[in-house]
Amino acid sequence: MSRWFRGAPAAGPEPILEPPPPPPAPDGLLRKNLLQVAAHEAAMLEGRVNFLTPELMQVDSLVREAAGTLQEALKTLDRSVQHQHSLASEVQSTIRTSLEGSSESEGFDAMSATIMGTLDGFVDHMLEISQSTVQLAEQVDDIRERSSRMENMLAELTEIAGRTHLLSLNASIEAAHARRFGAGFAVVAGEVSKLADRSTALSSIIQEQVLGTRVALDRTDAQVQAIASKDMNVAVRSKGESEALVQSLQTTNWLVKDLVGQLEDNARTISSQVGHVVRCLQFEDLVHQTLMACLMDLGNLLDQAQAWKAFETRLREGEPEAEALAALDGTLSGIEEARVQFRAVKSGSLSAGDVDLF
């Protein structure tokens, strides 16, 4: 038997088991046995090749399809990461403008300062109004007191007018007793009486006015009390709440900024993983080349089958066994020598290969 079958090949299909050596045979029987062996070897080799070739082609097709799908997924993933990166950058830029502004007068800090300044002014204004209201209430009380005094004075005036009127009446009576000597005095008494009447009438009018002023004062007092009763703490509390709100907004903005930063980190991690995927996807090329080497090796087996057929033909054509066997051995040796050159892929892993710059 040929040395072709003595050892396992460096790679490729499993070695074919050596058939049991034929028993010693008489002349004629040896040739018959050799013919049987040759036909058997050729049929076995062809059968293996015919079985393995479509199997390997199928593996190649499946791998190519899987790689194609993975490539599309990779592209989609990459586009998504790019999109996420773009969105994160946009959000980051917006937040940066919001927090820092494009100038000193813009940005979240400037806005916060403006809001707090406005609130401070508003509260101070409210406090001033409150103080003015207290002063106004004091003035209303003062006017009411003065008005009350005026009413007392008017009462005295009315009483004086009454007494004056009474005096003029007495004077008229005394003038009547004096007859003609009292005529002039009667005239004076009449005038005094008229003045007393006018004084009484004026006092009534002034009293009405004072009463009206008092009513108006009471209304004003009620309004002032209503304003004064407003709790200034509300304004102060509102200011505090607004401050807390602004601070909360600022915190939220920083939180969002931090999250966007995390998104960026995540995108960088994915990009790094994409690099690994790009490296590993090259398995399709490595597998394809390996399969092609296997297919070439199968072609080699077909060559062996042809060699066995040629050997059979030689025997049938009457060539001496020794010569036919020598020719077979030479052919198989040549095929084996050619076979070891097929293997292009040496790497057994998907680690990145060496780089050599000349």
Binding site: Q282, K346, G353, D356, F358
Partner: protein
Amino acid sequence: MGHCILTVDDSSTMRQMITFTLKGAGYDVLEAADGVEGLDLAQGKKLSLIITDVNMPRMDGITLVQRLRALPEFKFTPILVLTTESDTSMKQKGKEAGATGWIVKPFSPEKLLEVVNKVL
């Protein structure tokens, strides 16, 4: 003006992975499926770099390097060989043909970009 790189490989997966990596870094990329197509595509183009496989139908990568070096416009253009072949004898053939560097598959995108940036 950006750099234009020609990649020659009979594996569409390899071409896509190389293109994906280089385009991601901002380079323009042209693709050819073998040496003959690569040589046709290269002529008349202003290429900054050529990356070629070795084992390809019709014309292998070593022959492509030799043919390109024979053209005046590609006398000094960097040519990188990207292949599964890692034998020293094959590397020597590539070097003698005029290749600038030899990268064994599979490549890592970072390393490829590092080499590309170095030779450009």
